[in-house]
């Protein structure tokens, strides 16, 4: 069923949406599933975080590049966040696309190619 959902949505929008919009939808749906698995435990389903322990991501000021690096590499020391070394560029692209649609109110794809470049330039 999980695999079917994006196809159905894509099919539904096929006649009235551009190819880019369809891809954006696909990314966002996959991103939602990834968010559930990798982010929701701490940042909660609504992205509000948990008190001062896990920060809210609803109003993050981070650029997509910085987000990609943070998701992949985590954060050490104060405000520790575990790394997600197993997430591939496409996974991260889908996650960022989902997050910025949900909390950034921006229906715009963040392509996997951009993630690859961003990951090569993490600080």
């Amino acid at each position: 069923m999980k695999k079917l959902a994006p196809i159905l949505i894509a099919f539904f929008f096929f006649s009235c949406q551009s190819k880019e919009e369809i891809t954006q939808q696909q990314y966002a749906v996959e991103g939602m599933a990834l968010y559930k698995t990798h982010c929701e435990n701490c940042h909660q389903a609504d992205g509000a975080g948990l008190r001062d322990l896990y920060p809210s991501i609803q109003k993050t000021q981070l650029s997509p590049e910085a987000l990609a690096c943070l998701i992949r590499n985590g954060k050490k020391g104060n405000g520790y966040m575990p790394a997600n070394a197993k997430l591939q560029a496409l996974d991260i692209a889908e996650l960022v696309t989902y997050m910025r649609e949900k909390w950034g109110n921006k229906k715009q794809i963040y392509p996997a190619d951009s993630v690859k470049i961003a990951l090569q330039n993490c600080r």
Binding site: N41, C42, Q44, L50, R51, D52, L53, Y54, Y80, P82
Partner: protein
């Protein structure tokens, strides 16, 4: 709950949480005396745990908020990564979670003693495992302990409905 034993006199002795001695987030020594005559909930966690701990803490906060003003209720969270989770790390964690001792004690101490207490006394798994995310494997259980340190219930601390049961049972134990 737990194994029963027969003592020298031939009486049945019920499983009881043994004496313990750990440090909390305020660097204060906490022992079994601090839960004397109190109903308490125990769990095992570590501050850098990326998997079930955040869910457990969300649920434990419900218990904390509900019994904030009731002195007969305590919460004890044992770190299973005491090498990293020293008292200052625990203090920072408690501050950011907006919780206070002695109502909710986050405890650290001798690793072997913590694992033994978890496995033998609370009957939950707690150990190091390099294959596990975060490096430790531990159960998500909340263990409900009565005023005489007898284990009275074990609940899945990651599931809201299970914690509802715990809250119901807590009321029963408080009336004992």
């Amino acid at each position: 709950m737990g194994p029963k034993t027969i003592n020298a006199k031939g009486d049945t002795v019920y499983h009881q949480i043994p004496t313990f001695r750990f440090l909390n987030q305020d660097s204060v020594i906490v022992t079994e005396k601090d839960v004397e005559g109190k109903v308490y909930v125990a769990d095992f966690f570590f501050t850098t745990c990326p998997t079930i701990c955040p869910k457990m803490k969300t649920q434990m906060l419900r218990i904390y908020e509900r019994y904030k003003e009731r002195d007969e209720v305590r919460i004890i969270s044992h770190s299973i990564d005491p090498d990293f989770d020293n008292t200052s790390v625990l203090k920072d964690y408690a501050t950011r979670l907006h919780i206070e001792a002695p109502k909710w004690n986050l405890l650290t101490g001798d690793k072997a003693a913590i694992y033994k207490l978890g496995q033998k006394s609370y009957m939950v798994s707690a150990q190091e495992d390099p294959n596990e995310a975060g490096g430790f494997v531990h159960s998500g259980a909340f263990i409900l302990v009565d005023k005489n340190r007898h284990v009275r219930g074990i609940y899945d601390g990651t599931v809201e409905t299970e914690v509802n049961h715990l809250l119901e049972d807590m009321e029963v134990l408080l009336k004992e």
